[in-house]
Symmetry: C2
Subunit: 240 residues, 2 copies
C-alpha cells in the first residue's frame, strides 16, 4: 500500500482550503510541540491532551494532570511547564496525563480534527511515522503549525523530509510538497545551520533555549506515533 | 535607500496576518495575470482595472472598455479574452482600458489594497521592479496569488528571484522569503524544467497553452511597473 497523495498545508489558516476526507493529517510543530509530544509519549506519558487556549488548560486543574502552557516561546506563569522537550522526561511525565496548550501546535491539532486520523510528526519519530504512513492507503496532508499563522521554515523542512521518504514514485505531490522536498534536500546535510536563519531559531536563541533546537533536530530517537483518540493523543498501538 | 524588510505572503488567505502599513505590496501571479498586466501596460494599454468577480467585470459593459475574464485557466464564455499574454499585444490593447478578473491574481490585488502602494511583479519586469524597490524605504511584502488560496510554486519561485535581487545584506527576510530564495536558487538555471512539476504548469499543458508558460518566464522584456492608482493599474511614471 501507499499514500494516495501527499500534500502540505503551510499554515493552519489554510486548512479550510484542503479536503480532509480519506486523509491522514500529520501535524508538525518542530520547535517544539510535536517533538515534545513524541518524546513525552515515548517516555511513558499516559496521554497528552492538546487544548487551544490557556483557559481550557486551566480547567483541568485538580484532576491530577500535569498542566503545560507555552506562549511566545515561554512557559506561561503559574503552569507546571511549557513545551520544552526537557520537561517531558520519564521521571516527569511517566504514567501521567499532560494537558498542553502552545502558541501554534495544539491549535493545528485541533483544527485538523475533521481528518480520518490525526498524528503528530517530528524528526524524533520520522522513520516510524513514514513506515506507518506507507502502510496506509489514504491521502496524507501535512499540517505545518507555523508561527501565528505565518509560514515556518523548520516545519516545512520537516514536511519535506517526510515527503521525500514517502515519495517513492507514482504518488502525486502538490506544489507545497514539491517545494518542501526541495528545501529539505538543500537543508539535510546540515539542518541546524540551514535552520539558523529561521525566525523561530533566532527567537529560541534569544530565550537561551538553543539546547532545545538541537534536541528537536535529532532523528529517529523514538518509535512512537502519537495519534488523536477522542480528545487525547496516545501511542498508536494503544488505539488498535 | 533600501527596503526595510522583505516578507513573502504565500497565499492571499494569509494576508490578514501581515501588517500592511509602511509596506509596498508586490502582487505576483506568474501564470498569468501579473505577467499579462505588465505586458499589456508596456504595449500601451491605458489602464487595467482588476475586479474580483465576473459580475463586477460585466458591469463595465458598454463603457468602451475591453472585458477580460478567466476562471480555472480558461476564458469565461461571452468575454473578449482572458489572461493569456497573447491577448495583451499593442494592436489589441493599445489606448484601451481593460477590465480584468482572474481566478487568483485580481483578488490578490484587491485584498492588498491597505498597503502604502500595490504594484504588479512578473519575470517580464523583474529588474525594473527590483531597481525601483531598492530606491524605496518601505517594507516589501510579496503577495503570491497562488491557486484558490493554496501555495503555488511559480509565484513563490518568482518571489525568491525578487528577494534574491533585493537581498544585498542587512535586510531582514522572513522565513517565507528565505524559503522562496532557496527555491529560486535551485530553479534558476532551468526555470521551465523546475516549474514543470508545478500543478499549474500541468493544468496549462492540458489546456494547450504551453506557449503562455514560456512567454511568462521571459525575463526583462519590459520596463513598466504597474501600480494601483485608485481602482486602476497604470504605469508607475504616470502617477508622479
Amino acid at each position: 500500500m501507499a499514500p494516495k497523495s501527499i500534500r502540505v498545508c503551510l499554515s493552519p489558516a489554510l486548512l479550510p482550503f484542503y479536503p480532509l476526507d480519506d486523509t491522514i493529517a500529520v501535524v508538525i510543530d518542530i520547535f517544539r510541540a510535536t517533538s515534545s509530544i513524541c518524546y513525552g509519549l515515548a517516555n511513558g506519558a499516559k496521554a497528552i491532551i492538546p487544548v487551544a487556549e490557556v483557559e481550557a488548560c486551566l480547567a483541568y486543574r485538580g484532576n491530577g494532570h500535569l498542566l503545560a502552557a507555552e506562549r511566545d516561546g515561554e512557559v506561561v506563569t503559574g503552569f507546571d511547564f511549557g513545551n520544552s522537550p526537557f520537561s517531558y522526561t520519564a521521571d516527569k511525565v511517566g504514567g501521567k496525563t499532560v494537558v498542553l496548550t502552545t502558541t501554534n501546535g495544539t491549535r493545528a491539532i485541533q483544527w485538523s480534527a475533521g481528518a480520518t486520523a490525526v498524528v503528530a510528526g517530528s524528526f524524533l519519530n520520522i522513520s516510524a511515522l513514514s513506515r506507518w504512513l506507507q502502510s496506509q492507503n489514504h491521502h496524507v496532508l501535512m499540517v505545518c503549525a507555523g508561527w501565528k499563522n505565518q509560514f515556518s521554515l523548520e516545519d516545512t523542512v520537516f514536511a519535506g523530509a517526510l515527503a521525500n521518504s514517502l515519495n517513492t514514485g507514482g504518488i502525486e505531490l502538490d506544489d507545497a510538497a514539491h517545494a518542501a522536498e526541495s528545501l529539505y534536500l538543500e537543508a539535510k546535510d546540515n539542518l541546524k545551520a540551514y535552520l539558523s536563519k529561521a525566525s523561530h531559531s533566532k527567537r529560541m536563541q534569544r530565550l537561551n533555549i538553543d539546547a532545545d533546537i538541537s534536541f528537536c533536530l535529532q532523528q529517529d530517537t523514538v518509535s512512537v506515533i502519537p495519534i488523536m483518540n477522542g480528545h487525547e493523543l496516545v501511542r498508536l498501538a494503544e488505539t488498535t
